[in-house]
Amino acid sequence: MDVLGNAFDLILDPYVLAVVALASVFGLFVGAMPGLSATMATALLVPVTFFMPPVPAIAAIVSCTAMAIFAGDIPGALLRIPGTPASAAYADESYRMTKNGQANVALGAGLVFSILGGLVGVAVLILGAPVLAEFALNFSSFEYFWLALLGLTCSVFITPQSQVKGMVALLLGLLLSCIGIGTTSGHPRFTFDNLELMGGVPLIPALIGMFALPEVIRYVLSEDRHLPLTQRRFGKILAPQLDLLRRYWRGLVRGSLMGTVIGAMPGAGADIAAWVSYALSKKFSKTPEKFGHGHPEGIVESGASNNAALGGAWIPALVFGIPGDSITAIAIGVMFMKGLTPGPMIFMNNPEMLYGVFFAFILANLLLLPFGWAAIKSAGYLLAVPRPILMPLILLFCIVGAFASNNTVFGIMTMLALGLIAYLMEENNFPVAPIILGLVLGPMLEENFLNSMQKTQGDLIGFINRPIAGTLGVLTILLWLSPLLMRLWRNVRVQPRTS
């Protein structure tokens, strides 16, 4: 109890509270700005946290990311530009709700279920940290290979248009991920002797280029430029959520738990959690045909999932010092800078600091309600800015974001090239989201495959003879075969009647 008391004192220090409040506003702003991601918000915070004591430094990162992941929903719903990659899975859905005059329901769902999902994630983090991390620690390259393949498979399955085109987009993303020096071979690939390309295609500029820039291009090329595309004033934000909660509580529970588990898996974070949960929600829904036409069910589940993943990602990070996602990878670095080595010893040596982090999580999620509500309300004003003024400003943000990710104009060139490609692809009904997923998971897929093969000297048996790997493998292959099996099953059922 003494530890908890000390931790309370740590977190309720006015200085810490001020840091949390500022970091929250910062997170909301960065998350809501198209092209600036939660990971980037964290990266931009590192230099600022460098001169803070450990608890406020970690609390700043925690609250900033919780806010940013929610705020990513705002431009997703109002402009169809996800503010962060974690909102990409359902940006289209919530934009359609806005078009149907339900922006308040879509954004409110994002807010309320982000908070609930976030709290579930924290609860699991506090209660189950050691157990879950122990499990994930047994994953070897075989398991990671299947995990990556499972993520990629999901991305093709949720393609609303032609699956061949989804596949093409995924393959292009995977090919982009091949550019640069591979860690497995050390050989520069597709770099055309360009030094910057040796570092590979930078993710954040690619993301800005593919999600934000085409929006600006489309706007400039559109004929009617002064049409207000989005709603400025919203109806009740919180009231409709009770009804959603009653109807979709199963989705909330499933999304929160799924998000926490995916977050806890090293390498997979909030964005993958959102994709998987959206796909699951559609799979288990009683009305899957409503998906893609402005239906809140998927938003409830994946909105909860991506915020739960944040808490989940801290589980392996705190217990074993292995980051659960790109945000905690940075956070671990910050902890090292403070002289705190994440690991089992931290539970014994600095428990109040650990509980301080837990309280920061709870605090951030509670603060999300008033802050997020205010953000939604003011988003109306932000978007009341005439679009001829807003669009050039978004372009400026794209420039700064693409530059700041690695402090080089190469980021801007990457953004331009991929932006033009993404624009052409979307005009031709190719989805662009699988490109990003391919870019992120490509290295994980290739390295884990090659490393596994190196271990077994080319024997493929390793992918199925470990229990967890085998289970994941069977799951992936079943998913592949599912359209075929479904068709067969339908034929079997239909045939007796027709013949």
Binding site: V168, L175, H187, R189, E223, V409, F430
Partner: protein, 158 residues
């Protein structure tokens, strides 16, 4: 601008062949069953197959009377081409001269020109561009320490 799927297919097929051929030149790893070329070549094969499907579908659609290229209305409007040119130009301009001209000046020019092109009144465009340049600079360069280039203003700012 919408192309017949067969056209996209041919471009993708060419890309697949290029990837395969380039990857063929990658060295083998000593003692490893699969080398640096393995993964790109698998992707190239899959991409090639997907491209063939697209070509097949495209030719069918073309037989059914789909146009090879369907352009949006903006293609015949020179003002739209100018707009596209301005966006691309803005990014190239920033990449090229922000280091010597400085972040604020470049960003001000880009924002002002684009807003005026989009029909914002000149005084308002200039005002917003100045405010945007200052705010972005203060926030990113001064608060977050992103090394945005100072350019011609470097010696005055520090």
């Amino acid at each position: 601008m919408r192309f017949n799927d067969a056209l996209s297919g041919f471009v993708l097929l060419a890309l697949a062949v290029f990837v395969w051929a380039t990857a063929a030149g990658f060295p083998k790893l000593t003692g490893a069953p699969y080398g640096a070329a393995f993964f790109p070549q698998v992707l190239a094969v899959l991409l090639g197959l997907a491209a063939l499907v697209l070509i097949f579908r495209g030719i069918q659609a073309w037989r059914n009377g789909e146009a090879v290229i369907q352009a949006g209305a903006w293609v015949r409007n020179p003002a739209r081409w100018l707009g596209l040119g301005l966006i691309i130009g803005a990014l190239l301009l920033y990449s090229g001269i922000s280091a010597s001209l400085g972040f604020h000046v470049t960003v001000f020019l880009i924002a002002a020109v684009l807003m005026i092109y989009l029909g914002v009144r000149v005084w308002l465009a200039l005002l917003v561009a100045v405010i945007a340049a200052i705010t972005l600079w203060l926030f990113f360069a001064r608060v977050l320490l992103v090394p945005l280039p100072g350019g011609v203003l470097t010696s005055i700012l520090w």
